[in-house]
Every structure is written in structure tokens, then in C-alpha cells.
């Protein structure tokens, strides 16, 4: 499979998926970079990996379990200490829909 055609539209779409507001200049730059990088990735296609199981870690993955006991949550509320507007224990945000 050769490189897919990446357009400005692709970048805009990816930016929307990633929830990042890009300037026009940033879109242009990333479009160019993405094109170059994807060309580079073509070399991966030349490798025969039909019989290779993909791995997600060099060390092999094991499930990490613990006993199904109730335990105290030690970090409740952590991470939202700086949230600007709270009301009755909830975080107040602007409308989701217009």
C-alpha cells in the first residue's frame, strides 16, 4: 500500500478528532510533515509480517489483577482542584450544545 493522499481536509479532520485548534500556518506545516513521515513508513509495508503476532510491549503483557474487595479511593477530587467554577460538588461548564 503506498502512501494515502493526505490533504488539508485530512488535517482539519484529525485536528477536530484531537480537539486541537490549529492556525492556518500550523495546518500547512503539519500537512507537509505528515506527508514526509508517511512516505518513510512505506518501508514497513515491505516486511512480511503475515505470520507475526503483533505485540504491544517488548516484555509481553500480563493482566494485572487485584482482589475484588472494596477499598478506599485515596485521590477523590484529585486533578480538578484548579477548576474555575464549581457548584454543589459538580464542575460547572458552558453549554455542550448551542
Amino acid at each position: 500500500m503506498s502512501s494515502p493522499s493526505i490533504t488539508k481536509e485530512t488535517i482539519k479532520h484529525l485536528a477536530k478528532l484531537s480537539r486541537i485548534e490549529l492556525t492556518e500556518a500550523e495546518e500547512d506545516r503539519i500537512l507537509k510533515d505528515l506527508g514526509n513521515i508517511l512516505k518513510h513508513f512505506e518501508e514497513l509495508q515491505s516486511l512480511d509480517t503475515k505470520h507475526i503476532a503483533p505485540i504491544s510491549s517488548g516484555m509481553g503483557r500480563m493482566n494485572s489483577f487485584r482482589e475484588d474487595d472494596a477499598c478506599e479511593n485515596t485521590n477523590q477530587g484529585g486533578g480538578v482542584e484548579l477548576f474555575p467554577e464549581k457548584e454543589g460538588g459538580a464542575l460547572k461548564i458552558p453549554p455542550v450544545f448551542e
Partner: protein, 478 residues
Amino acid sequence: MNLKDLTIDSFHQGLKEKKFSATEITRAYLEEIKSQDKEIGAYLALRENSALEEASFVDEKIANKEEIDTLSGVPIALKDNMLIKGSVTTAGSKILETHIASYDAGVVTRLKNKHAVLLGKTNLDEFAMGSSTENSAFQKTKNPHDLERVPGGSSGGSAAAVAANMALGALGSDTGGSIREPAAFSGVVGMKPTYGTVSRSGLIAMASSLDQIGPFTKTVKDAALMYEGIRGHDSLDATSIKREYNDKPSEPDFSQIKDLTIGLPEEYFVGGLEKEVEMGLAETIKFYENAGFKIKKISLPHTRYALSCYYVIMPAEVSSNLSRLDGIRYARVPDAAKADRLLDIYLKDRGAGFGTEAKRRIILGAFVLSSGYYDAYYGKAQAVRSLITQDFTRAFDEVDVILSPVTPGPAFKLGEKTDDPLAMYLSDIFTIPVNLAGLPAISIPIKNAPKLPIGFQLIGKPFREADILGLGQYYEAY
């Protein structure tokens, strides 16, 4: 107090023999930071009061004739992607400029339990993306050996702190070489342990299947001591390995070390290396040869695919990990303060908060994971990852440790960006495969480097840090 000659080992001895107090030494390091760091820029934040408190606690324990740990009182710097509860932790990014950590990282808990002295947080490339620390949103860090050059990255601040005697040890993180490369550039020891050995809890994640925390020190023995102090299972890190560690790499048996076979991968000893690196590696190999070590040529045939493989997998995991930075949790940048819709908070916070490199990698990661491309890119890269890992497994049937360059040359100048594709390839290719395979690896300064520091790398079998630390201590001893 001559901090240049101090090591973690000699510090611990000196404490026990009452040659000096922990408070004295901590003060000396704080003085050193005051006098040098304006030029070098290694630190983003200092913890003067709590550092002195911790030091005096250790002095009290000694006065009461209580046992102290090897790392007690040791002045340590931490890369600013490791959470210390109650402190600002920025990951070198504007998007977390005001973020206050709500819990301690696993390694921080361990260090606090041992009463190490945490001096402060060091500078890094934003979200650990980069190899020069120039991508930090806040400041540049200079190489203490030449202030016009980079210290390396992404853990440049930690490397520079140790190199300039502004910390006796430091922690960094390594995803594709971010401990080993700055160690080589800054003339210090830097080690990345086996994946799963050191807790990633509280390490602001870059690529979850590649990241590991590891030490920067002046000597290999010190690296072994720090590694022994921070390794171990952490129930808060689901990728942390449950394992009993019974070995003591800081006390190697050289008669056993002598039996290790060293492998030289032909794909790593190629043209394009700068003269100093070629000569330095040749001298290092000769050192081990003369000492009677068996040296063998090996092949890691899929080496050249490691770059593409890494640059698919890493951005994919980055885009996933950085999605939590939404202006709701942790912090919100001023640009996103007023928003009419929830969506605008996300768009503006992430648009204004992330730097160029972060945005580039998030977009690339989103692409390779997106519907229609997932199998061709991400799925393919995961299979290639298996091939690269198998290369090492096969090689380790023939040899015990692999020796290689770390970087193609010494530290480059600040602002000097190379366009030469070969140079860019070589700058990553020695370090990246190690992370893909999850192996332990260490960068050690080459003795008598002519001008700027150069490192050589030792790569070990999984959980065989004792081998690479042992070979490294042998190199230092003789």
C-alpha cells in the same frame, strides 16, 4: 565542600562516619545551584525548604544512631514529568503551567520513604518529546561542558544538573533514548531499566509501552545504587512487573562479570559516525578485549525498521495519553478561560497549550489510529515491533550484553537543526530499538574523550541490569 569528588557511595560513607552532615551537603548543593543555574538553566523549580527539612530529619536519625538507607539524605533532582504531591508539575508544557500534582509518583513515594532529599524539578522537552530540551515551553538548558551546546533531551535538565554538580543524582525518563542520549552528551551515566521494573505511576505518560524512569549519576556504581532504590512492583502501575529482586548490582563479582560475552551488532557500526565516536567506541572495545572479554559480531537485521516502527507506535500512544489534557482536569491555559461552548474549552486549551512538536505527534498519532489506517500503520508497526524484539532474543542466545554507540556524535549546538536525513536517522537508531524491546540499557561516558563527552551503550537481557552495571563498573575500575 568539594562536590566534584562526591558520589552517592562516598556520601553515604561520609554520613555514617560523620565526616559531614546531610544538612551541610544539601546546603552546598543549593549554593551550587544558586551560583551556576542562572547560566545552565537545569532547574524549573526548587524545593529549598522541604529539602533542608528532609536533610535535617536524616541528621536527627543519625544522631539517634538509627539505620539510614543508602539514598537517605542524597540530594536528587527529578525531571518535571514526575508528580510530587502539592507541587507544580509542568511536563515542560504551557498546558500544565499551573498544574499542581494531587499525588506522589511511585518513585517519589519510594524516595520519600528512604528520606532522599528532593532538590527540585528539572527542565525537559515538552512532554518528553525531543532530544535537546529545546522544546521546553519555559527555558533552554545548556550543556555544562559547553554552554553553546545542548545537554541532550528530553531529560536534559536532569543530565545537566548531575554534570554540573547541582545534584548528586537525578531521575529522568526514557521512551526512545531520553536518558541515554543526554547522559552521553553531558558526560554522565544514564540508565534505562527493563520495562516494568520501575513504577510509572505518577510519571506523566508519553508512550505507555515504551516509557521507563531511570537514574543519572556520576558513576556506574551510583547508578546501580539508585536503581536498587527505585525498582520494584507498584500496584498503582498495571504494567509494573511482580518480581523479587535478589541481586545487588552495586556489588558486582568481577570474576563472574569476566565470563560475559559482549556482542557488537554490525548494523550499529556503520559509516556516518563522527570521528570522536568511532575512535571512542574502538578504544572501549579494545579495553574489554585487552581485559580478556569474549567479543562477538552479531546481527540485528531489522534495525533499520525501528525508526518507522517507533514513529508509528509512539505518536499513537502519545495522542491517546495526551487526550486527558482537556482544560477540565489539571489546569486551563488563560486563552481558554472564556468559552461559549464546552468544545471551545478543549480546542482553545489544547491549541494554545501544546507546543509545535506535541501537536505534530498528536495529529500523526490520531492518523495512524484512525479508521481505515489502523491496520496498515499501527497494526503493522506492532508486528514489526515483534520482529525487532525477536532480533534481540536471538542475539542474546549468542551473547550476554550488546555494546554500541549511543549517538552519532557529541552534543550539537543550540539551535542547530540538522536536515541531513542520515544524521537524523543515526541520532535515534541506537537508542530506540531498546525501548521497543523493553530491554535494560546504560550510557557510560568514554574515558579520556578528547573534547566533548561521548558515551557508549551497554544493552542487557531482560532483568539483567546486573550484567550491564557490572561491565560498566569494571570499565570504571580498570
